[in-house]
């Protein structure tokens, strides 16, 4: 008996652009698309679901070959659009590969998005049965695990209330509880931990390591590097649909963190990385400078950190705000800040004329604790449009040498390390 759980050979998936789910944003778009649709559909229909013009096709995934031994917990990391979700969709049979093949040894359970298949009008109890069945559980199996599921979800009191009256937290807990009690031989998990509060995430992680300890194979996709490090033994790094690296998790995460970023302390965007919806906003660079003005990847917590976002506007934008989000390696937000937060600035910058801009800010000295952080960039007009968003634009390290409390060589809790003005009085 071989002990391979998943074998993937030369797998590829091609999409026609325009096939991928897209939402019409404005009425005008809808009308234009609506008027164009019949022609497009006919053209597409006559070409018989096969190849249309070459320019319309993109490979979301190509030449992927790997094996996952039984009982391993396998991580898959990559930036947005790297093909992780496509890979999981193929492995969980949601979509067919365009080329290559995959062998799956055993029942696959997927936790692609919690709550898929929940019906808002049905009660918690009814949804447990329905969702369980959708995920492939038999009625008897659900009955057997029912109490366990309810206990895990902590919604006992509301089990006979329609889930549309649930808070989002309750909804999420119930959905995860059902999925977590599926007992597949191969569990496919995609970003379920991106949602929910810390306590819930802790519980989910616990459940997943249980699954792993029970000798099942887990394929785990996440942006949350600490989760990948904690749960997985080996990790694949995908980039632009290709498998670029495979190694024990520590090494792979290191490789992933170091790659993809154009330079240390600097992120430049190539035209291919900027979605069409971003226009007329074009991001150009995100830089971090230390107190001496040097672009750097490692910054000292005792010195101010200068952040620069450089971008170009090809047309004037009303109400534009460009800002940063700071995240820890665990994906928790530390803060959000926009260049027009200041009221005076906000009134002056009502309309931003075409041109190239730099928005600068300073993260004051003694703000961040030591560790790795992500910077995300957001350019949007509030309640109008989000022009651009990159949630992993840049990673950097904060070095706490000389920071308050460094006389004790222990790690400090939390992402902040402020120098607070303590006074000690003897009474």
């Amino acid at each position: 008996m071989n002990d391979i759980a998943v074998r993937v050979e030369d797998l590829g998936k091609r999409y026609r652009i325009g096939t991928a789910p897209e939402r019409y944003k404005t009425l005008r778009d809808t009308i234009i698309a609506g008027a164009r649709a019949p022609i497009e559909r006919l053209r597409r229909g006559s070409s018989g679901m096969k190849k249309a013009a070459g320019t319309d096709l993109i490979w979301a995934l190509r030449n992927i070959t790997f094996e996952v031994p039984r009982g391993k917990v396998f991580g898959i990391v990559g930036r947005n659009g790297a093909g992780k979700s496509t890979l999981l969709k193929i492995l969980s049979r949601v979509t067919e590969p365009t080329e290559g093949s995959a062998e799956i040894h055993g029942r696959v359970g997927s936790l692609l998005e919690v709550g898929t298949g929940f019906h808002p009008e049905l009660t918690g109890r009814e949804n447990i049965y329905l969702n369980g069945a959708i995920l492939g559980m038999k009625r008897l199996e659900i009955e057997r695990k029912f109490d366990e599921i309810v206990a895990f979800s902590e919604v006992e009191q509301f089990i006979d209330t329609p889930v549309k009256r649930y808070s989002s937290g309750m909804y999420l807990r119930l959905a995860f509880a059902v999925a977590a009690h599926l007992e597949p031989e191969i569990l496919v998990v995609d970003e379920v931990l991106a949602v929910g509060d810390a306590e819930f995430q802790r519980k989910c992680m616990g459940k997943m390591s249980d699954v792993a300890q029970a000798g099942r194979t887990v394929l785990f996709v996440s942006h949350n590097m600490s989760a990948v490090l904690r749960l997985t033994e080996e990790t694949l790094v995908l980039d632009k649909g290709r498998l670029v690296y495979r190694a024990p998790t520590m090494q792979a995460v290191d490789f992933y963190m170091a790659s993809g970023f154009t330079g240390a302390g600097e992120r430049l965007w190539t035209p291919g990385e900027i979605p069409a919806e971003a226009a007329p906003f074009t991001p150009q660079a995100l830089r971090l400078r230390d107190a001496r003005g040097q672009v750097s990847e490692t910054l000292r917590s005792t010195e101010p950190i200068h952040v620069e976002v450089e971008y170009h506007l090809s047309q004037a934008i009303t109400g534009l705000r460009v800002g940063i989000y700071l995240l820890t390696m665990r994906g928790e937000y530390v803060f959000t800040s926009f260049d027009t937060d200041d009221l005076q600035q906000f009134e002056q910058m009502g309309i931003r004329q075409p041109g190239t801009y730099i928005s600068r800010c300073i993260i004051p000295a003694n703000t961040l604790n030591e560790g790795r952080y992500f910077l995300a960039v957001n350019a949007s007009a509030f309640r109008v449009k989000r022009y651009f968003w990159d949630d992993h634009a840049l990673a950097f390290t904060v070095d706490a040498t000389g920071a308050p409390g460094k006389q004790w060589p222990e790690p400090r809790m939390g992402p902040m390390r402020p120098a607070l003005d303590w006074k000690v009085e003897r009474l």
């Binding site: 062998e103 029942r107 997927s110 298949g117 019906h119 069945a133 038999k138």
Partner: protein
Amino acid sequence: MATDQLSKSPPEVLYLRPTHGLAALNLRDLWVYRELVLFFTWRDILVRYKQTVLGAAWAVIQPVIQMVVFTFIFSRVAGSSPEGVPYPIFNYTALLPWGLFSKALNDAGRSLVTNRNMITKIYFPRLTIPVSSVLAGLVDFGIASLVYIVIILYYSFAPGSTYRFVIGPALLALPLFLILALVATLGVSLWFSAMNVIYRDVGHILPFLTQIWFFVTPIVYSSSEVSNKWQILYALNPLTGVVEGFRWSLLGTHSLPWQLILVSAGAAVVILITGLIYFRNMERTFADEI
């Protein structure tokens, strides 16, 4: 069951490859997921009348009002009692299978698109969705049948009524005609649900297609009113055979129009098989196209 499968070794191996040519029908998959079909059916029924004041009463009100309206409008056209049966009974006998067909067609036609968030995220045999939409229609059919019994009793015992319900061996054939109705309904539903994934035009076509279909089916009139030379063509509409079969078995007024029913049954089977093939072939791209 998962635990059972776990202890079984080695587990079955699944090969995922691009498929070319005609897809295998592989109905075994549907059997493995039969419980899911029932769960979807149950969900559709449960959800249908939630947050309505009248609740399940709608399943009674809809066909009854339809019948009253048709009686009012068409009884003069068709003569007050075609084939010696009071018009409401004549009409309602046809409305029973027609209601099943039209409701299921409209629900099933949209069913895949309504469930798109599941289809793009989880694997399960896609056939379960339209099949359960059709099965959910059976519940309304059952309720409408109870109303039918009430109408029959009323006309049988109302003073001055000459109508008597005949309990004869023809009644035994009723389940066969119900199966024929289901075959036709499922076949047409498969075609439209799969087409709707790629051509949302289907959603716009369905309402008036249903209307046209209604009039080319002998519901408000009798198929004997169609001239003889068109009978075969007329019977290609599978609903013609279903409705005439229901009338024959429930009203027992005329002899079995077996030629017409055979042609209809043949048409229904062809529609179902081609529907299955079309559905299976389109299914590969559902997650990408929907």
